[in-house]
């Protein structure tokens, strides 16, 4: 009889305690304890449907021993924070027709991960389509995710520019060895490259703070 171990972890924000054998996989535990079972098709991680976030990193739950996740924070597609691109992707997926639905959770997690790591559109696309999706759901929702990531990128760029501008204003000036706290002259819009449209994006889009919340998957 295999020896049992006491496993403690946090699953989608809830504390979970479970008795497991050394051969129990993380997907066994997640399927038993979360709202819906983890879809498993390949048994070797290649289908990617068993994706979960373990301490903020995407992993395949079907090939990970549960004991290797002892004490960790595990998040499924249902557990990504309500604010952020992951949650928006979850709503997009819920609103449309997903022929099989098995990839939905992994697509939500990939969207959140792409946003958190500020992937370029190209890298986000590579991540999104890394595992084959036979039912067409990934293709259906990708344009929406690409648009969300682009809006996020513009918003973050605008925030960076505002930060840089503030930093410039507060900078101390040196005049021939004497130091002055005189404020820097206000740059013109042409000088710092900011446009009215960018300003709007900053208000409408999400900011770095959202990024941090997104990392609640960690």
């Amino acid at each position: 009889m295999p020896k049992e171990h006491l496993l403690r972890l946090r699953l989608d924000g809830e504390r979970v305690t479970s008795r497991v054998t050394p051969a129990t996989t993380l997907s066994d535990v997640v399927s038993e304890r979360s709202a819906r079972p983890v879809p498993e098709e390949c048994d070797d991680g290649s289908c990617g449907r068993c994706l979960v976030s373990l301490e903020g990193n995407l992993v395949h739950a079907c090939i990970l021993l549960a004991l290797q996740a002892d004490g960790a924070n595990v998040v499924t597609g249902d557990g990504v924070p309500e604010r952020g691109i992951g949650a928006r992707m979850r709503r997009v997926l819920a609103s449309g027709e997903n022929p099989c639905g098995k990839c939905a959770s992994s697509l939500v997690l990939k969207a959140a991960d792409g946003a958190r790591r500020r992937l370029t559109a190209e890298d986000a696309r590579a991540l999104f389509f890394e595992n084959p999706c036979g039912c067409g759901t990934a293709e259906r929702v990708w344009p929406e995710l690409a648009a969300l990531l682009e809006a996020r990128r513009l918003a973050n760029a605008a925030v960076e520019r505002v930060k840089a501008k503030k930093g410039k204003k507060k900078r101390k000036f040196h005049h021939g060895g004497t130091e002055s706290t005189e404020e820097a002259p206000e740059p013109t819009k042409e000088e710092d490259g900011e446009t009215e449209q960018d300003g709007e994006t900053e208000q409408d889009g999400k900011t770095e703070q959202d990024d941090e919340e997104e990392s609640g998957t960690e």
Binding site: M1, K3, A23, D44, L51, L58, H60, I63, L65, E130
Partner: protein, 291 residues
């Protein structure tokens, strides 16, 4: 799935070495553990003990020292693939790390597991051989450095004994006159290796015309990573011309894919890819040194 084994979680390196020594030959050390479950599901025989090294001391690190890159065996491949300094000064390793499986596997797969696992060795082994890397291993009694050249013998036996644990992987970064590259032909699944892996590190003279040092390595059909010694010798000290590149590529393909062996089917691809790899390295170095 078999689960009748003991799962051991040492809290430091000394304890890990002791556990490994006491159960040498019956214990499988794991880091990310990405291959373990897959193998069992396919009917592999589980060991009596699994030794999880995750908390056994600080084996998860990466830094560039004054002379060499140092990598902990528990560093994840996704971390290596995203390290800009590695991409710049040990490009082949960065390429190999990025080429392994999907991100969710790279997030768990470690350098140590990739290189030191039972055959087939992962994609980074062939690159570390080309980079002339050394592995530091530790047991309860001693600590020693091993060259990757001596890590695997012709019969596929590892020079690391069952009671030793790898604690550091080190190699020189590229300078202006040196560059490295990696090519994977075909793709790998969880248990089936990519058919052909090639890696090269080339150093040119300050003028960019003479080959000062070339290390070529390959892994064919999941065999052990091997150097292309004959091809390397052809390049040594030669002025780099297209006919020399062709000669090196042909020689490398002949020793990698001998006639009357299953590997022979890869021969033409090896010639083509080796030529392209060398041409790429030559042109990158020449651009850098302004030759």
């Amino acid at each position: 799935m078999a689960g009748d084994y003991l799962f051991l979680t040492p809290s430091d390196l000394a304890e890990a070495c002791r556990l490994l020594k006491d159960r040498a030959g019956h214990t499988l050390p794991i880091a990310g553990g990405t291959r373990l479950v897959t193998e069992w599901r396919l009917g592999g025989t589980p060991p009596s003990f699994v030794l999880d090294l995750a908390d056994a001391g600080d084996l998860r690190y990466r830094y560039r020292g004054s002379k060499r890159f140092h990598l902990g065996p528990l560093i994840e491949l996704s971390d290596l693939a995203g390290w800009p300094e590695l991409a710049s000064d040990a490009r082949a390793l960065s390429q190999a790390a990025a080429s392994v499986a999907p991100l969710a596997v790279r997030n768990r797969a470690t350098l140590g597991g990739n290189v030191l696992q039972r055959p087939p060795v992962g994609d980074t082994g062939v690159v570390l051989l080309a980079l002339d890397a050394r592995i530091r291993v530790k047991s309860t009694k001693s600590e020693r450095d091993l060259s990757l050249d001596r890590l695997w013998d012709d019969a596929g036996r590892s020079a690391i004994t069952p009671d030793e644990i790898a604690v550091d992987v080190a190699f020189n970064p590229a300078d202006k006159k040196t560059d490295s590259g990696f090519v994977k032909i075909g793709s790998r699944t969880a248990v089936r290796p990519a058919p052909v892996l090639l890696a090269a590190r080339l150093t040119l003279s300050p003028s960019g015309q003479i080959s000062q040092d070339l290390r070529l390595s390959r892994q064919i059909d999941g065999g052990w990573p091997r150097r292309g010694l004959r091809a390397e010798k052809i390049a040594a000290g030669k002025r780099i011309r297209p006919d020399v590149v062709d000669e090196v590529a042909e020689a490398f393909a002949s020793e990698s894919c001998p006639e009357r062996t299953p590997a022979f089917v890869h021969r033409e691809r090896v010639v083509t890819e080796t030529r392209a790899l060398l041409e790429d390295l030559i042109s990158r170095i020449r651009v850098r040194i302004g030759a």
